[in-house]
Amino acid sequence: MTDPDQLPEARAAVVDRLGEAALVDAAGVIGAFQRMNRLADATGLPVDKPLAVLTAGLDDELGIQGFYTAQHSKRLPWVVRKLGQMMRPFGSVMMKVLAPKNDV
């Protein structure tokens, strides 16, 4: 949803179905990502290599290679992307292993 006029209805739907605390926590996540998106995009940051491998192919499936900010990250070679796709079922475990404790 990007239309502010839809906000009251969307807000009411979340409160009705999930409760007020869920609305606050969802709003918090949106606020947090408004920040993190800007930190990455306004400093031209490339995607971290381990994450890029683990999510290889997802960018094509989601169609986000067309985002302007995709040019900040070099496209991985075909072989590495295939390897990443094979590893995807183990993605959540690998994330935990590879990610540092204070990561964001």
């Binding site: 807000r11 609305l23 918090g28 996540v29 993190m36 900040h72 990561d103």
Partner: protein, 249 residues
């Protein structure tokens, strides 16, 4: 606090830790930073809010390329240099189409990469906090009165190039006074993005912990930090936000 839903006003409790984190941020904003004075920091925050109604920003946002649209921002008469106002407005309204060429064109001896990183910390914080207020239909917090004082203008040591436009601290080479920034020797690129200005990095971590989840829980995808929505739903909301912002990272 109360929020307006479809046709009625409903009382809602906002978590105390979230309110305290936001109040703590405004206090942090009011004081001299590392590169900007308190007056300048509050002026940058004001520009962040003005950018949402700035006619030039709206025209650029609607254009195929924002770089073909000339004009002047509707600024707050803060006395900030035009390049500083432009940076604040563009980061606030169209960060997904910033380029290295544009970055190089605004950075100079007076508006250094460190000034830019502190400005980025301010703009992204104000956007973040204001977004939450807008979603919850709460009035925006008033901007604080600036606290007088001079910024120390000190660069940290142990900087490295990770492929972005600004240097960041290499966690393995951080000085003793900056060891607290990173819990381990590895950190994601985005988590290092503000480290050229360590105080902005610390501020970001404090607020992010309350808005999202404690930083140390982020890699554990089953942890939701005791929030009222599942971690899977949190990540879906975050991914949707990123998609709307066209953030590839």
């Amino acid at each position: 606090m109360s929020i307006a839903t479809s046709d009625q006003t409903t009382g809602i409790d906002v978590r105390n830790d979230l309110i305290e984190a936001h109040n703590g941020y405004w206090d942090h904003l009011s004081k001299p930073g590392t590169w900007w004075s308190g007056v300048e920091r509050v002026a940058i925050a004001r520009e962040t809010r003005l950018a949402r109604q700035c006619a030039l920003c709206l025209r650029r946002k609607a254009a195929l390329s924002p770089y073909g649209i000339e004009g002047e921002h509707e600024d707050g008469g803060s006395g900030l240099a035009p390049g500083v106002v432009d940076a604040a407005h563009r980061i606030a309204t169209d960060a997904g189409r910033l380029t290295k060429t544009w970055f190089d064109s605004v950075i100079d001896d007076k508006f250094t990469d460190a000034h830019y990183v502190e400005l980025l910390g301010i703009v992204s914080s104000v956007m973040s906090i204001d977004t939450i207020h807008i979603i919850l239909s709460l009035p925006l917090d008033p901007l604080p009165e600036p606290v007088p004082g001079e910024p120390p203008r000190q660069r940290p040591i142990g900087l490295e190039d990770i492929g972005g436009w600004v240097p960041t601290i290499d966690p393995s080479k951080a000085s003793a006074s900056e060891k607290d920034l990173f819990a381990t020797r590895r950190a994601s690129n985005v988590s290092k993005s503000l480290s050229l200005v360590p105080e902005e990095h610390r501020s970001m971590k404090r607020v992010l912990t309350a808005q999202y989840i404690p930083i140390e829980l982020v890699p554990s995808l089953g942890e939701n930090g005791g929030r009222a929505i599942s971690r899977a739903l949190m990540e879906l909301v975050g991914a949707r936000t990123s998609a709307i912002n066209e953030c590839f990272y």
